[in-house]
């Protein structure tokens, strides 16, 4: 069977109350012309005309090869096997998971079972999150982070219950974990069905290419701004907000406060800021210092630690020499209410920060040099054996030397599927890979990729 003929499968995840059921009902009742076979996590909760709805009792099979992450859904193997006998009655499959479910076993089912791998293709994992509660969930539950890490599409739902600053903060936090994920803001899970169903293998290349921010390394700071300061004392205000998502794993967090560094910048524009990024990384590597009782900070070769107690929100920035300065801040100003009285920044930049959410992050690699197929196979094989448990998802397109077609792959934990697909067009050849997981070793992944160059 050709890959194009495989039946697309959408996996729907999300906590109870996120709006997952609302989305499911919308998909089932909307006039979109698609015939969907829905596999629900319970028997017949919703009665729906014209659609095939099947109840499933979640049953996890561990494989006997001893790998604890090789879990699959036995019930899905059976149900999907039955569905194949009626495949002319539907165009795509939608699988709803229970609220706290780890999406891994569902996704892995499509890799481990050869029959299903031939007949179905995992089109996308769609995670619905509740804008009002997701931050709290991320702080206390690993499952919330994992559902986001696995997703191809996130519906940021119930946006009426969060303000713009919170939505932006959530989106950054989601992207910090899962860089290539597409986020759609929704009210009542109202979204055109073609944003979540049958994305055509979610047009992997476009997903990987759209947001190049995942190609950036991660930084110990989330934001920097360049200011022109006259000599003297400037007032630095924090709006009393305690950092919304401090995390113990963060090396710069000792007491739930905020770290920032002040460096001289060579020019009052974006290039002046860029020039100070690397020096700022070195500054942040130093032990942070608490200001003394005068609450005064100065440009220094170490970061300052500003406790964010409610009774202390004003600090003095003392500048000796007129000039341009860059302030690098652990969190974005919108999150912590940072501002400099009477001075606006002349340039700013947001950074991907590395310290959030159970150390879940993404590593992207882009390279225009072709790779050797055998070397790639060896590398993936080693990588999945040794790091498969921590790699939630990997996906990408490779330019294989001597091959006219794109090699498109994706994987879940230790499971992997790769095939040659469309031919490359003129000037298009470029390899793009992304890994999403826990405690990923960026340098190691980059070195691994370089070892595959043809």
């Amino acid at each position: 069977m050709s890959p194009a003929a495989r039946i697309p499968v959408t996996v729907l995840t999300g906590f109870l109350g996120s709006g997952k059921t609302t989305l499911l009902n919308r998909i089932l009742t909307a006039q979109h012309g698609r015939r969907i076979a829905v596999i629900e996590n319970e028997f017949g909760e919703i009665g729906v005309d014209h659609q095939l709805v099947i109840g499933a009792e979640e049953e996890i099979f561990e494989t006997s090869n001893g790998c604890i992450c090789c879990k699959v859904r036995g019930d899905l193997i059976r149900i999907l096997g039955q569905l194949l006998k009626r495949r002319d009655r539907f165009d795509c499959v939608l699988i709803e998971t229970t609220g706290l479910a780890d999406p891994g076993p569902v996704a892995q089912t499509f890799f481990l079972d050869e029959d299903l791998r031939e007949q179905f293709v995992l089109d996308a994992i769609v995670t619905v999150v509740d804008a009002a509660h997701i931050e709290e969930h991320l702080d206390v539950m690993d499952a919330a982070g994992e559902q986001i890490a696995f997703a191809d599409v996130v519906l940021l739902n119930k946006i009426d219950l969060a303000d713009e600053a919170a939505l932006q903060r959530i989106e950054r936090r989601i992207h910090a974990m899962n860089a290539p994920v597409r986020i759609f803001r929704t009210l009542d899970a109202d979204i055109p069905v073609d944003r979540v169903l049958n994305l055509g293998a979610f047009d992997l290349e476009r997903a990987l290419a759209t947001d190049s921010s995942f190609l950036e390394p991660q930084y110990p700071f989330e934001w920097a701004g360049v200011y022109a300061f006259a000599p003297g004392r400037h007032e630095l205000c924090l709006a009393g907000a305690v950092c919304a998502h401090d995390h113990e794993a963060h090396v710069h967090t000792h007491d739930g406060g905020l770290s920032l560094a002040v460096l001289e910048a060579p020019s009052a524009d974006a290039s002046g800021l860029e020039a100070q990024i690397e020096p700022a990384v070195r500054v942040f590597a130093e032990e942070s210092v608490l200001p003394d009782s005068t609450a005064t900070i100065v440009p220094a070769a170490h970061p300052w630690r500003l406790p964010t107690a409610h009774d202390h929100t004003h600090w003095t920035l003392r500048i000796e020499r007129a000039g341009t300065y860059a302030i690098f801040c652990e969190h974005a100003p919108g999150e912590v209410g940072l501002r400099v009285a009477g001075a606006g920044h002349v340039a700013e930049r947001h950074f991907r920060s590395h310290h959030h959410d159970g150390e879940i992050a993404s590593v992207g690699i882009t390279d225009r040099r072709p790779v050797d197929r055998q070397k790639v196979n060896d590398w993936f094989s080693d990588l999945l054996q040794s790091r498969g448990q921590d790699i939630f998802r990997m996906k990408g397109v490779l330019d294989i030397r001597g091959e006219d077609r794109r090699y498109v792959f994706h994987g879940v934990h230790m499971m992997f599927d790769g095939r040659l697909e469309r031919p490359w067009g003129a000037g298009e050849r470029v390899s793009r890979l992304v890994f999403i997981g826990r405690r990923l070793d960026r340098a190691g992944l980059e070195a691994g990729f370089r070892s595959c160059l043809a």
Partner: protein
């Protein structure tokens, strides 16, 4: 000399829907057939003419059918969660219908004496009379029951599930269960007809077996994919297994199959969907997604003795009780009858 025999096409009927399963009547004159949309049919098969009666439905689709040994009734099960008993005699039609559990019923098996119908619903197996009375329900298994089979004397009912095989011993009013454990998911239940061995195919691409006299367990690996079909020769010597497009046969003569090389029957080019050994005879029939039905003689040849090309994927093949005919169901709803003509 290569063996020679042929499958000779005799008749066919059109049911216009994917044939899920079929079961012969004990006299070999009728077949109960269930289809993916849920219809239940009775096909009466004559040398000159065949006729089809549609007896009823399982809403959302049918999953299994089994004929009562020595009787004129058969049972069917479906996605609607019900099991129906059908009368195939003078009062043709639905006799009784019941709901064995909360879940879908995926496996049915009549005891060899025809008294009890075992039905698996989710993790639960229960025994029923053909009047719909429940004799006994066994404690829920660790996982969903994937397959059921009785041993030849009808004393043990074997259930395949996650984590091993369960052998339910039925000596009313005593009911006991023995567990044959292995990690992973067991997909088939295959007690050997000579009563010596229990075998199962697994999701992990292996075959496990236990010698019943000693309890000794063995395992055969090396399959590229899950082993979803197992069938014993009637003398209990050969265990035919199907995984992907491969038919692999293990010889249990002498010291058994461990360490031996299996017979690899080469012919199918796509996944096989069905395997059946001839009752009382040496012939093996397989059918697959390559639209072919193949006749084999394990132990004598590893190439097919005969190949019949259908006009759609073969989904199920069943020998008649006397071993002289084979019914083959196809994806497109055609049910074909072949006579097995030996050399």
């Amino acid at each position: 000399m290569a063996p020679s025999a042929i499958l000779e096409s005799r008749a066919s009927v059109e049911l216009d829907d994917y044939i899920i399963d079929c079961a012969w009547s004990p006299d070999g004159r009728s077949l109960a057939v269930v289809c993916s949309e849920g219809t239940v049919h009775l096909c009466e098969f004559g040398e000159r003419e065949s006729c089809v009666h549609e007896l009823g439905m399982h809403a959302l689709g049918a999953l299994a059918v089994a004929w009562q040994p020595g009787g004129a009734r058969f049972a069917s099960a479906g996605q609607d969660g019900t099991t129906a008993i059908w009368d195939a005699g003078a009062h043709r039609g639905e006799h009784v219908r019941f709901r064995p559990g909360r879940s879908v019923v995926e496996a049915l098996a009549f005891s060899p004496d025809g008294r009890w119908l075992a039905a698996a619903s989710g993790r639960v197996v229960a025994l029923w009379s053909t009047e719909g009375e429940r004799l006994h329900e066994f404690a829920p298994a660790e996982g969903v029951i994937a397959a059921l089979a009785w041993d030849r004397p009808g004393r043990d009912l074997i259930a395949a599930t996650k984590g091993g095989l369960l052998a339910h011993r039925i000596e009313p009013p005593r009911f006991t269960t023995r567990r044959y454990a292995r990690p992973g998911a067991c997909l088939t239940a295959a007690p050997s007809p000579n009563g010596k061995v229990l075998a199962t195919g697994t999701q992990d691409g292996s075959v496990h077996f236990w010698y019943l006299s000693s309890g000794r367990a063995g395992e055969m690996r090396g399959y590229g994919t899950k082993v979803q079909l197992t069938a014993w020769s009637s003398n209990g010597r050969y265990l035919a297994t199907g995984a992907g497009a491969d038919v692999v046969v293990w010889d249990f003569a002498g010291k058994g199959p461990e360490g031996s090389r299996p017979l690899q029957l080469c012919g199918h080019t796509e996944r096989i969907e069905t395997l059946a050994f001839q009752p009382g005879g040496p012939w093996l029939v397989s059918g697959g997604r390559d639209w072919r039905v193949m006749l084999w003689l394990p132990g004598r040849a590893t190439t097919p003795v005969d190949v019949q090309l259908g006009d759609a994927e073969a989904t199920v093949a069943r020998f008649s009780p006397d071993g002289r005919f084979v019914a083959v169901g196809q994806r497109n709803g055609r049910l074909a009858f072949y006579a097995l003509l030996p050399p």
